[in-house]
Amino acid sequence: MTVESIIHKPQLTTLFGNDVLDRLERLRISSRRRFTSKSRGEHLTGRGGASIEFSDYRDYAPGDDVRFVDWNVFARLNRPYLKLYHQEEEMHVVLLVDASASMGFEGKLERARQLAGAFGVMGLRGSERVSVGSFNSATGAVGRLPPCSGRASMTKVLRFIEQVQPGGDAPVEAGIETFLKYHVGRGIVVVLSDFLTFGDLRRAFNLLFSSGLELMAVQVLGPTEIDPDVTGDLRMVDCETQATLDVTSANDLVDLYQEYRLAFERRLAALSQQRSGRFLSIGSEDELDWVLFDLMTRKGWVQ
């Protein structure tokens, strides 16, 4: 391999560079609850299993498979003990990307796609089954990539994510519910959205939890949503519904807006934690490297 071929190594994806990809391949998604599918995989479950990794001993009970009796112990103690092994099961990684029109502002969708791609890479490199869904229409129709696994699926996953485009006024809770109609499998779900919806997220989060998916909610907000710079009398127009709202002396309301934004984040975090999930809010202008390799590592999302 020549030096030039190394320098001009083609990019695997437009979402991030190969250097980021190299670092991602060394990371794994860290789940808390070990929601796993019965199919054999690489995630150790709490239950005993048939892997080669020793877990514990227990007394032999009639009916146990004598193949798991530790004969060396029996020879020393003259009592049969059953040798237990860890169960390694497959974990399903679901990536849900909110692609409504509101995500088209200030690079929010771009950052959501990058994060989805990163989680996809980490999932595939961890031999998980990765499926991707995006919703951007009023009816809640979901673009869906069926579960796939293996390193060979990485290109497919990344291409799907790259093609997600913003539009429509699909509420995030409707998109989640629609996606779950077609989803089977336990694991983790990474929801990438701004969560700015008039609907009730509790039902959607409950459905995720009951489906055996550990929720990892990432809120992506634009800089003007985090710190709005508005002044005077304005007529605000919702980009999804085209609804209007007249605001007078908007600059005097910014402090109140911040109170409501932080309260909204705290409510989302509470909703996630109540369902054994996690919540993280980032800005679309935050550095990707910092988010992936610093913030998420410190938060224990990846390791």
């Binding site: 509101s102 929010k108 005097d252």
Partner: protein, 633 residues
């Protein structure tokens, strides 16, 4: 009393503009559109109780409220409100402004800095400021007429509310260094009242005029505002000279001060520009100092006396005086040979030359009983037994005895002359119906009355004083009376005064008259300040009616040739005293008291309202545009 009034109440319909303003506000309020990802948070913010508190509601409609406030202020200004500070309003006000010499007096001196600044303000400037404030506060339906007065009155403007014209007229008023005469101003105001009606007349003066005015007020109110008291003043109030027998002049300088003036001063006297002497005087409060200098009378000369006070002096124009002294000579007297008694009496008097032969020369005194001698040129005449031609129709001399009934003891000719026991053989009789008034109308003043007519009359002409003894003294006991030489001596004194050989007095400001020049000549009179004026002498060569409002030298010339240089000074004790009357009494025993309170005028409020409206507009602009540069659109 209503404190607030409106001039243009009809403009109240403008308040109806509030309706379209509110309508347009809600119809035309255009807010910039701002597209946001979601209204979720903003809707919660807008629905928050804190946003919907009353104060926040007020803030939401702040623009409308400010616009309403602006409109209300403008419409209220259009109503032309005013703050009524006078008990009664006057739509037309003549303002009589004193500009006499005493109005040039400065305020009292003080060590305090503020008072020191006030000290530099003359009474006229203080009056100007008061009237200027009135002009500034003049309301649209009010008119003012400015009349300045000193010795005479002058109307500066018609009744107008043109502030520019009024201010210009105020600026044009200058001090005239003459005594003031309030009657002239009041008479002019009376004349004005015949054409224009007004209720109140404002008189602004320091009160330095006689307290009694012989005027009948034809207007209901005279508002007499006396200006603040002036500072201490010392000045020359009299400069005169009296002839001494030794052909010298005794020059007298009288220095007086105002009631509160006390201090030293130096009187410097120059003769024809050369110092003659100086003397220090000390004037006590309300006192006077008289000093005398002796001047030789061998030639005509001009005396200039200058007072240099050693302390603050509020009036400068009375610190100088001028006196013109003629060259002293003997009195030239012609006595008719037929009147030896007069000649005999004259010979006992010094410094006179008695002639008994008529000549072409001019005389100072002619005493004759011959009609042909009346053609002799003389400044004083005594015609004995001659009835003047213009009285020959009304007075007839009859040969019957008569006695003197009454005579004027104060007349200079009859000083100390007793005529009571005089017997006269010829009696001048007036025709029936002829009274003293008819004689006075012909210019004659009766000095002695007989049973049926005048015995002695005098006629003052511009260049000549004539006495007519209507009976012949030879036909009376007059020459034998003790009073006869006294009469002749008085006649000589009168002749000396008439010829200017007995005494001289400094010329006063006002009007110069009786200046004898060449007949029918057009001369130029150049005052000490201001433009020269052209005037013509009469057929007798007398120049009269020369206005002299300023102290200083007046140069009279013809074609560049200087004929006379006359020094004119104030020389008025009343003006120097700076005393003011607190009350003016009129003929009908009405009196008007002076008020020293601040002159109150109705104050228009529209400029304040307009200023407030402007401030509201600026505040609105600032409030709504302050963040325009950083706004997110």
């Amino acid at each position: 009393m209503n404190l607030l009034g409106f001039h243009a109440v009809a403009n109240a319909w403008l308040f109806a503009l509030i309706a379209p303003l509110v309508l347009f506000y809600f119809l035309k309020l255009k807010r910039p559109r701002l597209q946001v990802p979601s209204l979720v948070l903003w809707r919660q913010v807008v629905q928050d109780k804190r946003v919907n508190s009353p104060f926040q509601r007020f803030k939401r409609n702040l623009l409308l409220l400010l616009q309403l406030l602006l409109l209300i202020l403008l419409v209220t200004a259009a109503l032309q409100p005013f703050l009524q500070r006078r008990p009664q309003r006057a739509t037309r006000t003549p303002v009589l402004l004193d500009c006499s010499a005493s109005m040039a007096a400065l305020g009292p001196a003080s060590d305090a800095r503020a008072d020191a600044a006030r000290q530099t303000v003359s009474r006229l400037q203080a009056a100007r400021q008061q009237v200027g404030k009135m002009v500034d506060d003049l309301l649209p339906d009010e008119e003012m007429c400015i009349i300045s007065f000193s010795r005479t009155a002058r109307r500066r403007t018609d009744f107008t509310n043109n502030k520019r014209v009024l201010r210009k007229a105020l600026e044009d008023i200058e001090i005239e260094e003459v005594p003031s005469n309030v009657e002239e101003a009041l008479r002019m105001t009376q004349a004005l009242s015949r054409n224009v009606s007004f209720d109140e007349v404002l008189l602004l003066s320091d009160g330095n005029f006689p307290g009694r005015a012989h005027v009948q007020l034809s207007f209901s109110r005279l508002n007499y505002r006396r200006l603040p008291k002036a500072g201490a003043n010392i000045g020359i109030t009299s400069l005169s000279a009296r002839r001494r027998a030794s052909r010298d002049w005794d020059v007298f300088v009288l220095v007086e001060g105002s009631a509160d003036a006390e201090g030293a001063a130096t009187v410097q006297v120059d003769r024809d520009g050369q110092p003659l002497g100086s003397q220090k005087v000390f004037v006590s409060k309300g006192g006077e100092e008289r000093i005398m200098f002796r001047v030789g009378g061998e030639k005509a000369s001009t005396i200039e006396a200058r007072l240099v006070p050693e302390q603050a002096d509020s009036l400068a124009c009375d610190n100088v005086a001028y006196l013109h002294l003629p060259a002293l000579r003997s009195l030239q007297v012609y006595v008719s040979p037929s009147l030896p008694a007069y000649g005999h009496a004259l010979r006992a008097i010094e410094s006179i030359n008695v002639h008994t032969e008529p000549s072409e020369a001019s005389y100072d005194l002619v005493i004759t009983d011959r009609a042909e001698d009346l053609n002799l040129e003389a400044t004083t005449r005594l015609c004995v037994g001659i009835v003047p031609g213009d009285l020959s129709e009304v007075i007839q001399v009859k040969e019957q005895p008569c006695a003197v009934v009454d005579w004027s003891r104060t007349a200079p000719l009859l000083h100390y002359v007793e005529l009571g026991e005089l017997s006269i053989m010829h009696q001048p009789c007036c025709r029936e119906g002829i009274t003293d008034s008819d004689l006075e109308n012909n210019g004659y003043e009766v000095l002695a009355h007989g049973d049926k007519g005048p015995l002695l009359v005098q006629k003052q002409e511009p260049d000549r004083l004539s006495f007519f003894l209507l009976f012949h003294s030879d036909h009376s006991t007059l020459p034998y009376r003790v009073g006869f030489p006294v009469l002749v001596s008085n006649l000589v004194q009168v002749a000396m005064q008439q010829a200017g050989l007995a005494e001289a007095r400094g010329l006063q400001t006002g009007v110069l008259g009786g200046i004898v020049l060449r007949p029918s000549r057009r001369v130029t009179v150049r005052p000490p300040e201001g433009a020269a004026v052209e005037q013509t002498t009469d057929e007798g060569g007398v120049l009269s009616g020369v206005p002299a409002p300023r102290v200083g030298y007046y140069r009279i010339s013809e074609g560049g040739e200087l004929w006379a240089r006359l020094g004119v000074a104030l020389l008025d004790a009343s003006e120097t005293s700076l005393q003011g009357v607190d009350k003016i009494t009129f003929d009908e025993e009405l009196s008007v008291a002076a008020s020293a309170k601040e002159l109150k005028t109705d104050r228009p409020l529209w400029p304040i309202l307009a200023l407030l409206a402007f401030c509201v507009m600026l505040g609105e602009w600032w409030y709504f545009q302050r963040g325009a540069g950083g706004g997110t659109q």
